[in-house]
């Protein structure tokens, strides 16, 4: 019964995520759209959670909802006028957006269908947080460090930009 509820929950989350995704792209109000995007990300985190990937779910919330979305909304608030937030979008823009979305959708579907998904092994199906950490520090240490350097460079770049503004 509980499993049943969980499975139903997954479907509910999926539908919710899809609906929110549509809302985020269709809502005329930029701010509403951004919030709908946050809802999508939360729903995805919920999906991870229902699949037993707790760590991933938390990181999803922390990084995407907590940090990235905040920055997005910050940007929206800085650019958009506070009084009138409805962003007019021209017909060509809409058409272009629709076409690019369709292409992306087809591509993703193609990848999804062509991949051979391995079934999770029985027993302990998911690596623990500790395993993840060890994996990150041993097997994937090179990309990890490269990413670190990249982020550091970004940080310095941002600092430089901010300093330039001052002078």
């Amino acid at each position: 019964m509980l499993e049943l509820i969980a499975v139903k929950g997954i479907y509910i989350l999926m539908v919710f995520a899809a609906a929110a995704a549509f809302a985020s792209s269709l809502l005329p109000n930029l701010f509403h759209g951004a919030l709908a995007l946050a809802a999508v990300l939360l729903a995805v985190a919920g999906l991870y959670l229902s699949l037993g990937a707790e760590f991933l779910a938390m990181v999803q919330i922390l990084v995407y909802v907590g940090a990235v979305m905040t920055l997005v909304i910050y940007a929206v608030m800085l650019t958009g006028r506070l009084e009138e937030t409805v962003t007019p979008s021209g017909r060509i823009q809409r058409a272009a957006a629709g076409v690019s979305c369709a292409i992306f959708f087809v591509l993703v579907c193609g990848v999804l269908l062509s991949t051979n998904w391995p079934a999770a092994p029985g027993g302990n199906p998911l690596p623990s947080v500790k395993d993840l950490g060890i994996d990150l520090m041993k097997r994937h240490v090179f990309p990890f460090e490269v990413l670190g350097i990249l982020l550091f460079a970004v940080l310095i770049g941002a600092l430089a930009a901010a300093r330039r503004e001052k002078s």
Partner: protein, 385 residues
């Protein structure tokens, strides 16, 4: 690289300024005062003080009634220091009518004026800290001590804030018995309180951070804007009317005028603390020197207590000024020989000190604007008289 960046980055962004009205109903404004602020982000780029919400036509009212009847109205100018207001008005009219004040009355006046100064400074610091965001603690401490002094005022004058105690040529009634001892007791406790208060505030790193180098008022600007009082002294000018005019009997006391160096909010705060300590010194001397008995109102003026309508100063004009806790409080009275002043004008220190608000605030943050306003120490009753 440098050549490419001669346009500042901010010009690339379409930044908007934000106009907000702080007041007349706002938790931080001191009375019904409105600041029309234009903010760039949180930085103040323009500030327009809007006043007049409490305008009461004070001067016109005074020109339409007897000299004595204006006395209770002066209480309501700077309602924190009715004693100093009374003092200034009494001095002006005494000058006009040529009335001498008996010695004991003079001492009583000085004692009360200095107590008022303590009341004012302690509450100003309390309010300043409230503007800084300390949740009422310094204010409640300050008000506790203020309460003790106001109790003394009530005993002397019958009212805590609207004292209406000074009369031309003296004071309304003699001090009640035993009052000088009570003032003495209060004075013995007060320095200890002041030490505690300073321990709470003076070295507080957050307070220093918020107040030092904020709202710096240069000497030049202070002079040009005609400021007076602690505002001017914090900017480095030791101008104190008690020293300059030596009005009343201030010449007899040994006290010093504290002077700030930078003219920022911190200096304005600390100069007030030091002034309180100096006031205590004056009080101490006055309590020792005061004659134990004597007239409290000059013989010449006494009859007019009962019949204010008969008080007709000779034709002429006079300007009486005192060092009120907020600055130079002046009363200008012109007599045409009738029982009513022909012209009556108040030089309100709050109003004149407020004129520099915009200069002090521009370039600072919104939060600083509130603190600067608090450090100027205005009372709207006086600004909008």
């Amino acid at each position: 690289m440098k050549n490419k960046t001669d346009t500042p980055l901010t010009e690339d962004f379409d930044t908007q300024t934000l106009q907000i009205n702080v007041g007349p109903q706002h938790p931080a404004t001191h009375g019904v005062f409105r600041m029309d602020l234009t903010l760039d982000g949180e930085t103040v780029v323009r500030l327009k003080p809007v006043m007049g919400y409490l305008h009461r036509n004070h001067e016109q009212i005074a020109e339409n009634m007897t000299y004595a009847a204006s006395m209770p109205y002066t209480d309501r100018l700077d309602y924190f220091n009715s004693m100093s207001n009374n003092f200034g008005y009494a001095l002006a009219v005494e000058k006009l009518a040529g009335i001498e004040v008996p010695e004991r009355a003079d001492y009583i006046r000085v004692i009360l004026a200095e107590l008022t100064r303590i009341v004012n400074h302690i509450s100003v610091i309390g309010f300043l800290l409230n503007d800084l965001g300390a949740f009422f603690t310094p204010l409640t401490y300050a008000f506790r001590e203020r309460e003790k002094i106001l109790d003394l005022f009530e005993e002397i004058a019958g009212s805590r804030m609207m004292c209406n105690y000074f009369r031309f040529g003296g004071v309304k009634r003699d001090l009640p018995p035993g009052l000088l001892e009570r003032i003495r007791t209060m004075m013995d406790v007060f320095p200890r309180f002041l030490d505690e208060f300073e321990a709470l505030l003076t070295d507080n790193d957050i307070l220093c951070l918020r107040c030092q180098n904020v709202g710096v008022l240069g000497r030049e600007l202070a002079l040009n804007a005609g400021l007076s009082g602690p505002m001017l002294r914090a900017s480095g000018l030791g101008y104190d009317i008690r020293k300059v005019d030596r009005y009343s009997i201030y010449g007899r006391f040994d006290f010093k005028v504290p002077v700030g160096s930078k003219g920022d909010v911190y200096d304005r705060y600390y100069v007030r603390v030091l002034e309180m300590r100096e006031s205590l010194k004056i009080l101490d001397q006055a309590l020792r020197q005061i004659p134990s008995s004597g007239d409290i109102i000059s013989r010449k003026a006494a009859p007019f207590l009962k019949a204010p309508r008969n008080f007709k100063p000779p034709v002429g004009e006079a300007y009486g000024r005192v060092e009120s806790p907020k600055g130079e409080l002046g009363f200008y009275v012109v007599s045409d020989g009738s029982p009513q002043p022909w012209r009556y004008h108040v030089r309100a220190p709050s109003l004149i000190n407020l004129t520099v608000l915009e200069d002090l605030c521009i370039g600072h943050k919104l939060a600083d604007a509130m603190v600067i306003l608090g450090s100027i120490d205005i009372v709207l009753g006086e600004v909008d008289h």
